[in-house]
């Protein structure tokens, strides 16, 4: 199968969906003339014009608000958040308007739009350009939150998000943009709300997603050399969360570890732990363990950032503690 980068995969998704449906357009800061600060929009304006690939003012509130208005009146906007960290600027638009309009107006009109949110640690970008904030959004009814870990799902989830009638937040880890992976030719659609067993195993279930998924697979490789068989689940969607896949795996392996780059406190791992504690406690032969960042802002200096990061070795060490 052909291999392309994560960034190219998102570009293919945009290209195909904008070709398929003329209601789809994209707007954000630095996306038309610059092609996106990570190059993820390169070439799109040449093909679709600067009306459908729009450079905006540095006005996150206006970007998301306008996308909502356009979505309510017949368009299917994609809005780029530049850095996920900047979603704080437009939170009212996200959680009081975009997320609630369909429900609050009695289902009169859906809000079919996608927020693309580049997140995560890269290049020592420090406290305001490095965060993983996906857990905030799983606390808000009405939003779908997807978070691919590889090029195939980057393409498949973005296409599914654009076709979804509910608002979808699409987190794309900045350190993944240049990674390569197999992507099939032709139509690639990944289901929203469905996790994937990325690696089968029998001794412990390791749930992860996004960039940390690759670290988790490396941890599984390390442990395979120690005769520990790790089943890796790629969550792919944070909300609505795929409980069935997680519970079925824990029923089989009897142990659960969750690993993510975001801070551990109040994270996705906390929700998964609670779900398994409530609905699958009898499956467990060991305590649930979470691996995440410490409860600090993202630091700048290299050794500090390195200490902050989740690594394959930290994940492997957490799993060793269960046996």
């Amino acid at each position: 199968m052909r291999e392309i980068t994560f960034s190219q995969a998102t570009l293919e998704a945009m290209d195909e969906e904008m070709t398929r449906d003329e209601r789809v357009f994209v707007m954000g800061e630095d996306i038309a003339r610059q092609g996106g600060i990570f190059g993820q929009f390169k070439g799109l304006p040449d093909k679709f014009g600067k009306d459908r690939v729009k450079d905006t003012p540095i006005s996150e509130t206006a970007i998301v608000g306008a996308a909502i208005g356009a979505a309510l009146t017949g368009m299917r906007p994609v809005a780029d958040m530049h850095f996920a960290d900047f979603m704080g600027v437009c939170m009212d638009e996200i959680f009081n308007q975009m997320a609630k309009i369909h429900y609050m107006f009695g289902g009169q009109r859906s809000v079919p739009m996608v927020l693309r949110a580049p997140d995560g640690l890269i290049n020592q970008a420090a406290a305001q350009h490095s965060q993983s904030i996906e857990a905030w959004f799983m606390h808000i009814p009405g939003l779908k939150v997807v978070i691919p870990s590889n090029p195939a799902d980057a393409k498949g989830l973005l296409k599914s998000a654009i076709r979804d009638d509910s608002p979808v937040i699409y987190f794309e880890h900045k350190a993944l943009f240049n990674t390569r992976g197999a992507v099939p030719d032709g139509e690639v659609l990944s289901p929203i709300g469905k996790a994937k067993v990325a690696r089968e195993g029998s001794d412990v279930t390791l749930v992860s997603y996004s960039h940390c998924m690759g670290l988790s697979l490396k941890a599984a490789d390390i442990l395979a050399g120690e005769d520990v068989s790790v089943e890796c689940i790629d969550l792919r969607t944070i909300s609505p969360i795929d409980k069935e896949t997680i519970l079925a795996s824990v029923a089989k392996t009897t142990r659960l570890v969750i690993a993510h780059e975001a801070v551990k406190q109040g994270g996705v791992g906390a929700e998964i732990s609670a779900i398994v504690a409530e609905e699958g406690i009898d499956f467990l032969d060991a305590p649930i363990v979470r691996v995440g960042a410490p409860f600090t802002p993202v630091p700048f200096a290299r050794p500090l950032e390195q200490a902050y990061r989740v690594t394959p070795e930290k994940i492997a060490e957490a799993i060793r503690g269960l046996f």
Partner: protein
């Protein structure tokens, strides 16, 4: 560019009688509807929060008389007037305010979240300043779709201090979007008087900062509101971009029903009610001009009141939503 002031216009011969009747009926329907809502809220029949549009009727009625069904409006927490003027069904509105299944939002929105997307009413909004950018987006869609509809966003003087106003004004102006920003300057941002929280004498002065026209009208003069908004709406339809109309008015009721109103005197309010009521002023003008007789006006008033009574009966008798509705519609 600086905001220009427009004086009250005379010369009513150019107004078709049907339009004058529409002005009057719309203002009376709003007045009667909100008086009924106030009464039933105070009687404990209506839950939640309600904000009344009483005294500001000329703005919704005057501006929206220039719009078609396909044009968009975006409203506020004080939204009943805009919704009625856009042609919404009073029964479904009242049922929503009562939290009933037959309401516009199936009883899941309430007074602050009434919307009717089928008539271009994009929604009231519980967040002050929450609607600016949604209206801008609707105007963007209109432009991309090659239509010549306009998007009108109503907001209060308080909302003009939200960043959302400034971001929307800039985006609408830089993209020449067909948006009309209609400020209802009712002198109070919730409980704080205008000049204690706002850096400019007129909200319309802020339009210059975004390279768009800013016009001031007497918001209690429906003729002035109608004529000035028409010019700005026509301008937007011609593709000449957004503008801002500031309607000077006064909030004769509290911020919400039940507001103890410690921040002003009863005399201040009474003075406006006695001398500057938009409905009284309309009546005086058309009676003076011998365009309508007192009997004709009374007949319109009675018929508007009757429609509101019917809406109330409908809402009272409507069913409560089933519990299954709680879980419906989280996702589309």
């Amino acid at each position: 560019m600086s905001a220009k002031k427009v004086k009250e216009k005379k010369g009513l011969n150019k107004y078709p009688r049907t339009l004058l009747e529409q002005f009057y009926r719309t203002m009376l329907t709003i007045r009667s509807f909100d008086k009924k809502v106030e009464e039933k809220f105070l009687a404990g029949e209506i839950p939640g929060f309600v904000h009344l549009y009483i005294g500001e009727e000329a703005i919704a009625a005057g501006v929206i008389s220039n719009l078609s069904r396909e044009d968009y409006i975006q409203s506020t927490h004080r939204g009943h007037g805009h919704t009625i003027a856009k042609g919404a069904d009073l029964k479904r509105m009242m049922a929503e305010i009562f939290g009933k299944k037959e309401g516009y939002c199936k009883g899941k929105g309430g007074s602050m979240h009434i919307a009717d997307l089928s008539i271009g009413m994009l929604g009231a909004n519980g967040v002050v300043g929450g609607g600016f950018n949604i209206a801008t987006g609707a105007a963007l869609a209109t432009k991309m779709q090659g239509k010549n509809n306009v998007s009108v966003v109503f907001f209060g003087d308080g909302a003009s201090n939200r960043g959302t106003f400034h971001e929307a004004a800039n985006m609408a102006a830089v993209w020449d979007l067909p948006v009309l920003f209609v400020c209802e300057n009712n002198q109070y941002a919730s409980t704080t008087p205008y000049m204690t929280t706002t850096s400019v004498e007129n909200i319309a002065d802020r339009a210059a900062g975004y390279g768009m026209p800013g016009v001031i009208v007497d918001g209690n003069d429906i003729f002035a509101v109608y004529e000035e908004s028409q010019k700005l709406i026509d301008r937007a339809r011609r593709g000449e971009g957004p503008s801002l109309l500031e309607c000077k008015t006064y909030r004769v009721k509290g911020h919400y029903v039940g507001d103890p109103e410690r921040y002003r005197t009863k005399e201040e309010v009474d003075k406006v009610c006695e001398s500057n009521d938009p409905i009284d002023r309309f009546e005086c003008t058309v009676l003076d001009g011998k365009l309508f007789s007192r009997e004709e006006l009374d007949a319109i008033k009675a018929s508007a009141g009757k429609e509101v009574e019917k809406a109330l009966e409908f809402a009272r008798n409507a069913e409560e939503p089933e519990i299954s509705e709680l879980f419906a519609g989280v996702y589309a």
